[in-house]
Subunit: 162 residues, 2 copies
DNA sequence: CCCAAGTAGTTGAGTGTTCAGCTGTTGAGC
DNA sequence: GCTCAACAGCTGAACACTCAACTACTTGGG
């Protein structure tokens, strides 16, 4: 590990600027959502995924994957959403290990109440700051990165290298 | 609030892709740092800022601003870093409310130990996935966003309109 | 000099996330 | 039809972050 490929000044600046922009953006989005709807962004996204699923119902593990949550995180999250009455758990008839999460009517209502403020915040904080070319570039970069990151092994022997 | 400016399909896709890319990227970076050095990224950045300050010392509130932390968060963080022996608090002679945070020798050592793995992870997960044009575009977009977000009022009457 | 308002920083309760370890279930190979 | 590895999901402890309240100090105005 003596031969680290350090970042050159340009890369360094890109990285810091990206970190700063991301933090400011997500902090603002998160803050709005929490303040106006009492939901963290991660919980909002769980509700969105459920609302888009057939029967507003998904297997827990599918939901975990599609909302980028660990299983554990999703378990805790669904427990809270269930307490709030926005989600209901259902047993899976064909696999008794499994369970479904289903968005309730109250959950739909909560989501519909939260959506306008959230969308408005995303527009204000993100899209209003970028011209069309930048928006297109951001999408292309994001798509590229998602493919890159999904392809990488999750835990690639950092530290004690091959 | 009946007239929400919803996201069109393109914007929607851009937003989701950006969220996904950011989460995957920061999760990977955070995971590496936590695993190899026992530091969350936010703590690492506090150490970096201190290491770059004259005398490796900064006023708490300056440090909070420059590391994008709330005062409260920084207080808690410095308390932990102090426990670990990486940071020391010093009283401010000219303003007795204030205090300084100073990076210790052990803190310098910790940072030097953590840096190679972290930088390597940033390169692998971010820069290796993007070509030079994309890197330039990412920097430009990030700079633009930082300016946009810093200009906005932090808490601009979302929800109940003007 | 004194008081009110503002500033620097801390604290504690509440919440979300992670990690490691646990239960219960399935299914493949023998 | 067993056995055992893999899988689905849950749980509790540890830790980080947020929010609101608090202490201590400074500063400006009467």
């Amino acid at each position: 590990m003596a031969d680290t490929a350090w970042l050159d000044p340009d890369e360094q600046q890109t990285w810091r600027s990206f970190v700063t922009a991301s933090r400011l953006l997500f902090d603002a989005i998160e803050r709005q959502l929490q303040h106006d709807s009492g939901l963290p962004l991660a919980y909002y996204e769980i509700l969105v995924r459920l609302s888009e699923a057939p029967g507003r119902t998904m297997r827990m593990s599918t939901l975990a994957t599609s909302s980028l949550s660990s299983r554990s995180r999703l378990s805790h999250a669904v427990a809270r959403l269930e307490e709030a009455g926005w989600v209901r758990r259902r047993a899976c008839p064909t696999d008794r290990r499994g369970s479904f999460a289903e968005l309730t009517e109250a959950g739909v209502a909560q989501l519909e109440a939260a959506a306008p403020g959230h969308v408005t915040a995303v527009r204000r904080h993100l899209f209003d700051g970028l011209d069309p070319a930048q928006q297109a570039a951001l999408r292309e970069i994001s798509d590229t990165l998602v493919a890159h990151l999904a392809a990488e092994p999750v835990w690639p022997a950092t530290g004690s290298g091959t």
